[in-house]
């Protein structure tokens, strides 16, 4: 797996996202509501950096869930 995409390739991908070809999968994803600029942001990273992002997101979600559970406990189950 390529460690990091070249700037030239990233620019080509950026163009595909900004000007999707009608009938393409890129156009279909945009129509579906996917923000491909976020995908593009991930493409700039190495596989390790992407995995680190996921781990960090998981930690954040767990902390959020824990805070919610503590809040409910303090407020007798009410949200």
């Amino acid at each position: 797996m390529t460690e990091k995409l070249s700037e030239e390739r990233l620019e080509k991908i950026r163009q595909l996202i900004m000007n999707p070809r009608p009938g393409s999968k890129v156009a279909a994803a945009k129509e579906f509501g996917i923000d491909l600029t976020l995908t593009f942001g991930q493409l700039r990273k190495t596989p390790q950096q992407r995995l680190d992002d996921l781990q960090s997101a998981m930690r954040g979600l767990e902390e959020f869930a824990r805070a919610g559970a503590e809040w409910r406990k303090r407020n007798n189950g009410r949200i």
């Binding site: 797996m1 595909l16 279909a28 491909l36 596989p47 390790q48 995995l51 998981m58 979600l61």
Partner: protein, 163 residues
């Protein structure tokens, strides 16, 4: 939540034949997909089962969703008795799959994998093509929702391939 680093390093140190699949594989391919567990497909040979047992023994694996007091022995005999296992461990939820719907058994999954460098280890990860096949075959709403992004990503990478 699952801690990726100890899981991946332990599997690699014990030379387990495995391929990362599911949400973690999707993330490695560069989407913002968030998952809670680590899924991997494993080779179902006695030797590999021994390696898996050894790799995870110190993470105290138990079957997820079963009572804590239900007896469970983590050894290769237990792994030989099934194909897929959903485990709760001290480092989080880990799923072991002997095969992947839409792709096939371990050998088919391995053929549909690429090597990524993670935590200084060379690790096999299911390809975008494999993930698309697996998500289509799974067919649940949560699987189908991720398909448009995976297909767009595959298209962008294939249309700009420099090789």
């Amino acid at each position: 939540m699952v801690e990726f680093e100890p899981a991946i390093k332990s599997l690699t140190a014990k030379e387990v034949d495995f391929v990362i699949i599911g949400g973690v594989a999707i993330s490695v391919h560069s989407t913002g997909y968030v998952t809670r567990d680590l899924d991997f497909c494993y080779l179902q040979t006695t030797e590999n089962l021994k390696r898996i047992v050894s790799a995870f023994a110190h993470f105290n694996p138990r079957l997820r969703g079963f009572p804590e007091d239900l007896p469970f022995i983590w050894d290769e005999r237990t792994l030989q008795s099934g194909t897929n296992f959903t485990l709760k461990t001290t480092i989080g939820d880990i799923d072991l799959l002997g095969e992947v719907a839409g792709v096939g058994d371990y050998q088919a999954v391995k053929k549909e994998s690429i090597i990524a460098r993670l935590y200084d280890c060379d690790v096999r990860v299911l390809t975008l093509e494999g993930l698309i096949k697996a998500k289509r075959a799974a067919g649940r709403t949560k699987d189908l929702l991720v398909l448009p992004e995976l297909e767009a990503l595959r298209e962008m990478l294939s249309e700009t391939d420099e090789e």
